[in-house]
Symmetry: D2
């Protein structure tokens, strides 16, 4: 057996960090060597997340205390903007898999507009590869720095990119109505994330102002050679995990032709399941897994179709896709640590 | 004090019937004289719905056993198609408030297309008034038969009709992404309504084929003089009550102008709350009440707006609106039995 | 019509305060004159709780800014210990209904043991009447200061007191396994109250150390002339509202005899529903209402019975009972503002 | 690599059957050769459970259509009583792992009392080994027929057996207050399992009459040489998975001594986690995994302790434990297919 790949996870005390740990503990070729969580430094992971009781894991420490000797790859699950500041001081030999939004937007001006400040590490941005695995596989294999997509863009782009590339849908009037479970908002202490504020209710948020919109536009634009402006309207749903996007698009083709195009594109992809005609993607059937389920439906409005995709926001939408990318970057079987089936019910 | 209005409720064992009972027990001028539930005939209401323990209510009986003497108004909360067959044999002096879909569609051909059979009481259809209270108030006052709108059309039309009537939005590309709690699907024994099939997940259903679409089209068409085809895509959300519609519409105006138009239209309506600029409608803040909260947001796509409305599907979307109509039909204060505030959390 | 009773609510921004407002807005003889919420002073109630949109309510202000002119009764829904400090400076003519734990424990030493500090207003303690309405009705009528019971003690004592008083159960081995919805823990920003930490899971908390234990012991002791030590083990359940206690007690009688004794005791009580033989209390059938449902079951262990009670923790367990007490203190019909039926589903 | 072990699963369309499939698809040494589901015969597993889309599985068929050639072990996840009738006609060389209650009770009279009919295969009962892995490991290794414990008995007995065997707790006054997620009740179409009847509420059921009581008594009796009668009171909790038992027991020892005794007993067990002093077992931290978390707490009632255990009812409480037993029966590493960590949130 080969030596394991030594890894570090920065920001291990968020839900994304915890799901990285959950999945990587089952990775046969990975050793978790360092875990950072500045506000919990000195604690064990099991103190912060009791579901890890009984597993051998390094103690949580501050980022600046990590010894990078022997570590080959670092997963950054840090708050936005923080990664930029930390990554630029890391040893150059380290591969970096970033789960934040810090390196997703290739245009610094767009970044500044949406995030409210100039980028802190613009010199690294050109090296960053957008980590939508099924669409940037070759670039990811060669990358030092992979910027994993946001959860909403992952579901949206897996559904749309093949159709845009084939010219099967128009890019000028895309309406993306998105619904997410609560873990997508993280573990921060906010009124709006309290159980009683979420359970038994639902609502839209960040209407026409969510930061995942420019990310979607960047990729749709790159695929089509246009500069689209999309509607992106997320909603909070009373569930822990799961994300569904319902996309309304213009086409001159048929829903079935689009479905077949997706099927052809993803025939050999393990983690994208193009459903049978009429079958409806649901979040509960991908829960806890790295799958993206997708399908296309005829709209009653002539010239329109409805495209629907479902993922687990913490897995395919975040930690799972990050691990899939790590597997690629190290020349491993892409599915290692990701075999787990959906947990239903 | 005047004599109470004697009423009967047909189909009292469904969630809609039960919510009629819940609200009407607090109506100061109503006496519940008969309750039908064919499959539960002979039981008390509290046996079927234990939350009614301690309340004095007539025993459940079969429809055909009801003595109509002294009854002035009947609420029909029966399965679709059943009302048509029962209503035509009722004494003519009875006022009828139908909560099913049986008399909502004015065009018999549209009815046959969407419901799969010819209408059984087409002779009554012309007398039916569409019971969207805030928009058919005068006709409802004079009606013998009121066809209460579906829950989705209620939220949708309250948000759209004033804008359509004022020519502020276009009717040819309306996209209505709707989300509902589970009680909207009724109390039938279906796999898909089991707790474990719904909790911790969400999914669209009846994509491009839901029967509330023609109802919305009928009213938008009547208000605009067009024959629109709308997109209507409902989703099931893991919550008991609540319905949210997120509507994407074309306009040549601004979101704020549309909001102000709604504000002007509903200024004197008790049950429609047009929110302040930027405030987001949520289902939890109308739960258990007869309110409809509505607002309009700018879209990033030029020439589009996002219109959002929230109701409790069993109250404003069904039983509450039915009672509001009854109050009108009998010349009462429209808010009687509907004063209850939202139950949050 | 008489002049309304002018009231103030201190701590209106907690869930308990909000439920007082919800219910009192429907009280025909009450006018809400002042609302305090120190951390939200200057805001409207609807900014803090959007379900109140459209209702006319005084602006939130700091306690010290309230003008007491004309106010006759104050509801204190403040954090523990705060009431003691505020109440002693209030005008003596004011009636006080306290929803905190500050005046529930008659013995100052017990208070100090469980709350970790000496009582700040011990001189007021002797005047406080324990506000378990059905059991202290006459004293409440005459009281200036009513200390409303905790939610768990309310359900527990309504079930146990008549049995203890009649000598039908023993007090030396009472095991009270309690389950509560999340609103019982308040609206504070704590990790443990986040949606993702609560949904799809359950757990006990404060095992053998919850502050409602001494309150239960005080009342059981007073009723029996003993000094019982009870087991009280609360659990957090993923639901907004509702509280269920499952009590295991020793008896020399039978479950049915105990049930009949409760039935006899509560025959004329509107808000306590002793269920029929074998019927199971559930929280969903009291949700949003002031009911307490209770029943007794045979245990398979000889000499034991199982006593079960269910309430809505925010209504009968808090704000509803407080209003019931206010009605008593002002000689009103005890049920005013409390007619609302359970909201199911 | 060795040949895989060929298996059949009877009753694959229930939640237990589906969880067997979920876990066994990740078993490196197992091949699923046959799946039965009489009411769904002819369908694919993915039609019944769409989360299995994309996995290669045999078509569902009727039990009587299964060809047993080459099959070495059969998992029976059938309704109670059915297993007895099917098992007696199976080839003798087949190993049988039964997840129903059919062979759990060693005394035929007790079976008849609790299940309402004489046992249909009493001749097989003596060969059945009770499949509580950590306590019957050697017998399981040698067994042909393993009767896997009920979910409640699994959690209860893992917590109690070591203490009973060591004489550390008394067996004559055990009170077991149990709480379960909804999947424990199966996928049958019953009113009481509908989303709207479960969500936002909780209640006890089968009070003093649940069939898991005699199973617990049998094992406690066997371990102690007594004939105990226990209190066992289950409650339904609005969550998909998870089971918690809160046990009130008499002891002459201390809670810490009991905790240490459990720690000593389970020191080398992978799947039983005895928590640190004061740490509370919760269902969310074992969700989806084969862990049982357990701890002991002092009671305020002198001479009593509180023992708490948490499992996932479908994994350690059913399918996971069954697979653990299969691993034992075939001389494999006991943890194969059970490495999956808890899914939180």
């Amino acid at each position: 057996m080969t030596d394991p790949i030594n890894i570090a996870i920065l920001g291990a005390s968020g839900y994304t960090g915890a799901d990285l740990v959950r999945l990587l503990l089952c990775h046969p070729l990975v050793a978790i060597k360092a875990l950072s969580a500045n506000s919990h430094a000195g604690k064990s992971m099991a103190e912060v997340y009791p579901h890890f009781r009984g597993y051998v894991l390094p103690e949580l420490q501050k980022v600046e205390e990590i010894s990078w000797d022997g570590i080959e790859v670092v997963f950054c699950a840090l708050p936005h903007a923080t990664t930029q500041q930390i990554v630029k001081d890391l040893p150059e030999r380290l591969k970096i898999i970033d789960l934040s939004a810090d390196f997703r937007l290739r245009d610094p001006a767009t970044y500044a507009t949406w995030y409210g400040h100039e980028h802190y590490a613009p010199e690294l941005q050109p090296d960053a590869v957008y980590g939508l695995t099924e669409h940037y596989r070759e670039a990811i294999k060669a990358a030092r720095l992979v910027a994993c997509p946001g959860c909403y863009p992952t579901a949206t782009l897996l559904a749309l990119l093949p159709l845009v590339q084939a010219g099967l849908i128009e890019t000028d009037d895309l309406i993306i109505d998105a619904k997410s479970g609560v873990s997508g908002a993280g573990r921060g202490l906010k009124d709006s994330l309290l159980y009683c504020e979420v359970a038994e209710g639902m609502h839209p948020y960040a209407v026409a102002g969510h930061r995942h919109a420019p990310e979607i536009e960047q990729e749709i634009g790159a695929a089509s050679g246009t500069e689209p402006i999309v509607n992106f309207t997320p909603h909070l749903v009373p569930m822990n995990r799961g994300e569904l996007v319902t996309i309304y698009a213009k086409t001159t083709s048929t829903a079935e032709a689009l479905r077949v195009a997706l099927l052809a594109r993803y025939r050999h992809e393990v983690f994208v399941r193009v459903l049978g005609s009429g079958e409806v993607p649901t979040t509960r059937h991908v829960r806890g897994s790295n799958f993206c389920d997708v399908n296309v439906f005829a709209d009653r409005i002539p010239g329109r179709v409805i495209i629907i995709a479902a993922i687990d926001n913490l897995v395919k939408g975040s930690s799972g896709q990050a691990i899939q990318n790590m597997n690629l970057m190290f020349g491993l079987d892409e599915t290692l640590a990701l075999h787990q089936l959906p947990l239903f019910p």
